[in-house]
Symmetry: C5
Subunit: 316 residues, 5 copies
């Protein structure tokens, strides 16, 4: 009695899967052609269809009598720009359909669709509890996918931290700056997502056949955990920046001190030598046999006196 269909509209970037009376339509890289197709086949509000294509959306839930329109932003790490950027997922959910529109960057979503295409069993598992449960399965996978990105940042922070206290300092400032930027972007993605996922469960209730409060509660916990992690990372990075600056000031100090010591030791020698290099014949001891010893003694006395004085003043 379970009817299962895999259909692909060749002319549109659109694939659909049906099990029982529930159809999942997956649109990768939606264009105006796809939204027109949806406008003709579903009772969707034109503003929502515009939102699927627009780049300036925020995560949100729009409720209508027969369906919900949801916009999510999930973090995707862009390897080239080395930055975490938001990738939009637009969802229309009705009693008998679930339509997902995205750019194909969300790996876990694409993989889940493939699994359901290939594997009858997994199709049954995901589709049998109604469209709300299927949505939960998708969002849950995408939320879990944030964790490795978060851990990556954590690893990078530790690497930078090690660098700071070691002698490998080249590139540390850039490293901190990139990390900071990354955490800022990531936080901007998660922040509005928390509100949307937190208020999802009651709105999705009549699209599912079982009580999903526990499941959604668990998902909210995961999002909050990610948020907490990002908050901690933000503070840690600010701390690292301060630490780096303190260490740099310290090093300037050390080098200054070194320069001063060199000057304190070498300049007096030069001075005395210069004086004895003058073409003046009345310099004391100039023609004595011990003139060299005498000169060296003067030098040592001056250097010793200066070093003693500066040490006492805690200047060196």
């Amino acid at each position: 009695m379970t009817i299962s269909k895999v259909r692909k509209e060749e002319q549109l970037n659109l694939e659909s899967l049906t099990w029982g009376d529930l159809t999942w339509v997956n649109i990768e890289g939606p264009t105006e052609r796809e939204t027109e197709y949806l406008a003709q086949n579903y009772p969707f509000h034109p503003l929502d269809l515009d939102d699927c294509l627009s780049r300036i959306q925020r995560p949100k839930i729009d409720e209508y009598k027969d369906y919900l329109f949801l916009v999510f932003h999930f973090p995707v790490f862009n390897k080239e720009a080395r930055v975490t950027a938001p990738s939009q997922l637009s969802v229309f959910i009705g009693e008998k359909y679930l339509i997902t529109l995205h750019k194909g960057e969300l790996k876990p979503l694409v993989k889940l669709f493939r699994e359901c295409q290939i594997d009858e069993e997994s199709r049954q598992e995901n589709f049998s509890q109604g469209s709300g449960y299927l949505l939960y399965r998708i969002i849950d996978r995408l939320v879990d996918y944030c964790l490795p990105i978060l851990n990556k940042i954590g690893d990078n922070i530790e690497a930078v931290e090690d660098n700071i206290f070691s002698d490998r300092r080249r590139g540390t400032v850039k490293g901190i700056s990139i990390l900071r930027r990354d955490v800022i972007s990531f936080r901007r993605i998660i922040w509005p997502m928390r509100a949307v996922i937190g208020s999802l469960e009651p709105k999705i209730r009549h699209f599912t056949k079982m009580d999903m409060a526990v499941y959604f509660g668990d998902m909210v916990d995961h999002v909050d955990k990610i948020w907490d992690g990002l908050d901690e990372y933000k503070e840690v990075i600010e701390g690292l920046n301060d630490t780096y600056d303190s260490l740099a000031t310290n090093r300037t100090n050390e080098v200054m001190r070194l320069l001063t010591v060199i000057a304190t030791i070498l300049l007096p020698i030069t001075v005395v030598a210069s004086i004895y290099g003058m073409n003046i014949t009345t310099l004391p001891f100039l023609h004595s046999d011990y003139s060299l010893l005498f000169v060296l003694l003067i030098m040592l006395v001056i250097i010793g006196g200066m070093l003693y004085f500066f040490r006492r003043q805690h200047l060196i």
Copy 2:
């Protein structure tokens, strides 16, 4: 049956457009003459008319029995001062009229008025759903107009960021300072606007013929998106400032280190040479054939010893 009139009061900075029973009165650069005209023809509160001329208003909604008085501030980029400044739009909205007062800096508003003047079709599109819908059309355009200004700031931030990590550093501090100031001004404009636009829909409900909750919800999303962007930019700019300072401290360090290396290498040579320049005849090896070699050897030993010592202390 649709009566459409375009009227221009020659003696006043006032143009009006009528379609059906709805009139849009647009006043560019209002003066006391225009507010007196309004006072005579409409039942407006004197305080509100004062507010249209005063420069110290905040965005707000004042409700009266027959009409609403609204004050909006939209960002306008002042090219000469290179800063984003607020431009005030005052609106009176009643069942059969919409009166807009502004300084003519709000391009999208001026353009929309022109369109409706020239084009019958666009007049019908904007006027047919009541004064509330017309207001929505105006505000929506003005909100969307904020996005290119925001993106401009984003581009400037990226330019400054590139400068920081390249060698083109001249002017970077000034660039960061101007960006920071710009974002502060922009935020001050958007912040009170959010509250006004967020509470607009229920108050405007009886001036429109259709349910506009979705439309206003969409507009609120756009304003929130702008706010989010500004918030992110604020954090990014603060981060850039820190990064710049860290890099500057770094460079000071490098230069200090270089100076110290130069001093470490050259001063000992000078010292030894000065000593052998003294008019003292008892210097060792002075008259030997290998005196030069001997002196050079002393120099090399001293320099080598110092470099080795400082390297071991991680000072250079």
Copy 3:
């Protein structure tokens, strides 16, 4: 039928004005004698009379059955200390009287009292709508009086900003510090005032003959506008401080670099010259006719080599 009296109690710092059945008692520089007088003639709570003299009050509204006791703090710019300080205004308001106690620093209040003393018409305008309206007139003037003080700060900020990017840097740090302190004080004055003025209207309702919601709403807007301005100034000043520090670090850098270049050019010459100044006769080319050229060549080669090396390392 309108009875108007101007009375001055010679022995007390107390003047009173009556129009119709409303009396405004103005006490400049209240002492215990004045509060005793009030205690004898009015049903005021002893704590409130103490508060009129005490220096440690906060803005507040105390409600009693027959009267309200209000404490306001308004900013007054102290020219000698060059700082904005709070000046207290205590108000007792009953149905037929309004009593103001202050130190005489609040110019707009003093001026309004004088106007009402001299001018029958202005007395009628201010007194005819009940004690609540008279209070509104006073507070409104005092709130508006904050704006020039705020603008003064804005002008000072711009002056400091110009200084920072020009070469006139002497005194800039002190200027920023004074501005910062001024904005902090100003904010501390406005912050509690917002709450008091925001909740004033409903409490004052039965002391006035007309609906004053719009008037008080307008006044609240002005206070909020002042607050917004101070908030913006606070952020701008913090930004200026950061900018100043970055520029100072930059200048240190430039000077360091200059010193390094000088050292790089002059020290090698000295070194070579010192070597050829040694009393050693085996130096190469010492007795040649081209010895000078040879020595200059060595100097140029060393300087050129060092400059080339440092330039390649982006150190200079």
Copy 4:
């Protein structure tokens, strides 16, 4: 009919005062012996008695059917450690008794108890309105006692501020650091106290014979005033720190500049003199009568050229 007793339990750190049917038991330096005595004579919860001795309490109000248990922390300036530390006051208040437990550091409380011991009149004044009023008298005195501590901090801030802009800079950093720490501690004491004192009045209502809303309102105002002052001091101190750092950077700049000027003037002279000190006989003008003038001219030209160049580059 007013019965007044002064009793002191010799074996316990416990003194009690009775007037009418109200007894004030004052315990200085409570130990387990005192809490056992209370456990035997009063219906107190064991946890509360533990809390009187424990060091890790927070200000709080615990309500029971017959009594309230209150914990307050008041700031006490520790002269030795030069820091403001919290001193705990535990209070049990019932209809006919008020029990205060503290370490004897709270001067105003100790003094009030002494006054009531000695002076019949002051006993009547404090005891006649019930235990709630007596508590109000105690807390009010303790709150007022915070003001001189606050003013002390204000004076210290001004002293540090004067130091910063004068030449007396030794110890300024330590001064700022101690002030900052002091304000942090003070804020930590006042913060939870605000909540407790703010919610005290309704809970204490049935222990007093008169309406005390005005009195408690006044006390809350005082606590808020203290909090406002601390908030302002916190911001001022942070500003002072920034100002100090800017000035220090400035001074480094000035010194660097001086060093560069010295180097620019003196090094060229040395260079030229070194060259003419070489044992090379082909130097120009060496044997001329005007050789000295010629050499001095070269020196002046080099110095002048360098100064002119650096001045034009705004480097000096």
Copy 5:
């Protein structure tokens, strides 16, 4: 009639204790085998059993009809990594059982279990009031265990503070950085715990035989006290960082000043000596008997003049 059993399932990391009708099952280091055992014997939700093993949980309370599932995170100081890390405690509480799952790092919990195993009396004390009371006893001990960790941080802060103002500065930056990191982690552990413990009492009410409001109120106070302490430490550490930086800048200043003084004194001597070292015979006083005195006089005059000038300019 009290039946008490101590049972240990050899094949599972599971120990259980029974007194009366209440059983405490303690699982150290839970694996899938233990959760399978629980799934077979108790009506627990599969998601909860997963959460016991997962590492990415947040503290939370999940309510079910027959039981509560609680997740707590307590701070454990990891001596090797020198950092405070969260250790998870999962609890299932039903009317007749309390199941605790943890990694064995929570000393006070392990100790309490041992005590109850060994000592009949302590078993009675902890078990006789129902599972809710037993849970309270466990959590209370774990909360109290946070205090020594907090005090440890306080001691470390004081040690770092002493270092800053003494001359022992090596390692201070690292010390501040580690402290900051530690406080950040600790705060991240306590923050969500506050919410969970604050809402625990009403939910646990039907698992206990006595009114526990006072007990839980006391525990919440302790958690809040810890939070306050961490907040204060956070501010203190930030202050220490600023102080350290100011002192470092100060020291750079002092060293710079010293270098300048050395240069000011020694360079003029060198210059004059170099001039008199030139092979020019027309130098004044060169062949006089007082030539040396003359030269020394010139040197002293130049040095004195420079020192006087710089002192007047407040540069040295």
